[in-house]
Subunit: 210 residues, 2 copies
DNA sequence: ACCGTTCTGTGAACACCGTTCATTTATTGC
DNA sequence: GCAATAAATGAACGGTGTTCACAGAACGGT
């Protein structure tokens, strides 16, 4: 009777368990240390069993990638709730950097590994954490522009792209380039915010004449 | 007699040849495709022979890394010769991005692979392409500041760090994240320059550097 | 010219890796 | 209980980095 559903559920549970253990390994030892054999060992199955639930290692990586990005989005969204545009950007930057530094291996997996991995993240135009996260930034710059505090002749989309690139650069250089251990990432991020905001007059001052 | 020097020279030549072939493989197929066996095959020696000239695969990678960075420096220096501060920054940004896009695999190797690789690049305080390249950027921001076109309360060093991070972010997101194929990297880089250069208005710090 | 040393080069092996597939084991419907 | 179906596996294939005992060539001294 209900045994069909139970089997399906058990199947899903094992799949989930595999992913959880894989996530643990990645966070603890990095993506490079995630091998099918080690993973199989950790979940106490034979290596071949993993292939009943995932096409191959890349499929597991992709799934972890998607979830990692969702975590990032979950961290960005509260920061985006802030009303004041400059403050909002500041909080977004802080949240982004904090995420990257707290979960370096996850960050590496999502943004610095094979291009194939992040391909899916931006595939669906509206759905997916990729476009959603980006939209959060774009809205922040729209708000900034509405307040007259952004460069006038640059679209919010482009500003958001450059801003994201700046954040990503800060985080990823911290993660890979030992030469960038000088200034703390949080400070760099706030400098980025400052230089992204045109004319740093107090926020609620009169709108700039255009 | 001179046979000792000749042997030494031959040794160096083989070492050099190994590196050249390794470089070709990396540029053509990426660092991941560089295997000791394939490399040994290409130089027509047994795999074990490679270990007479390099401690291990990482040692080869490190060497390629150093040279890659030197190439980048060689591209940046002409751009740094420009007198006008804003124009100089613009040319530096363009050169950096062009290098990254033209030699993606080299760029990946230098800036996006194992942190151990880039460790050496910034080790020597003055020598080495790492600090030298960074110094080029710092000087550009010093010039910008002298011309009164940079944020006043931020040091050139920090501005250079954020600028570099921005450039790196642009290039690396282009290389890995398929979602960033919207705006061309060159355009983003110029937007970065624009937002890094404070307009004629003097900047007053927002008080919120938490 | 020979011999012993020293250096260059190698084949074979070890321990891993991702992946496949025939085979066994467990579970189900009847 | 039995046949059918699903889950799990052991063994294998070809690949990886790396090591090491061994062979061969080149050398300096006599």
């Amino acid at each position: 009777m209900g045994s069909a559903e139970r089997k399906e559920r058990q199947r899903a549970e094992l799949r989930e368990q595999i992913l959880q253990v894989a996530r643990d390994i990645v966070m603890k030892e990095g993506f490079g240390a995630l091998s099918m054999r080690k993973l199989a060992d950790a979940v106490e199955y034979a290596p071949a069993t993993l292939y009943l639930h995932f096409e191959n290692r890349d499929a597991i990586a992709r799934e972890l990638c998607v979830r990692g990005f969702q975590e990032l989005l979950a961290v960005l969204e509260p920061a985006a709730a802030c009303e004041e545009p400059v403050e909002r950007l500041s909080r977004l930057a802080a949240a982004y950097v904090a995420f990257g530094l707290k979960q370096p291996e996850t960050y590496r997996l999502v943004f610095m590994e094979d291009p194939k991995l992040s391909a899916d993240l931006f595939q669906d135009q509206d759905e997916g954490a990729g476009p959603k996260s980006f939209a959060v930034l774009v809205r922040a710059f729209e708000a900034l522009k509405a307040a007259g505090q952004a460069l006038e002749d640059t679209t919010p989309v482009r500003l958001a792209e450059v801003f994201w690139a700046g954040l990503h650069g800060i985080v990823s250089l911290k993660l890979t380039c030992s030469g960038f251990q000088g200034t703390p990432a949080e400070v760099l991020a706030q400098t980025l915010v400052t230089s992204s905001v045109h004319g740093s007059k107090p926020a609620r001052a009169t709108r700039r004449t255009r």
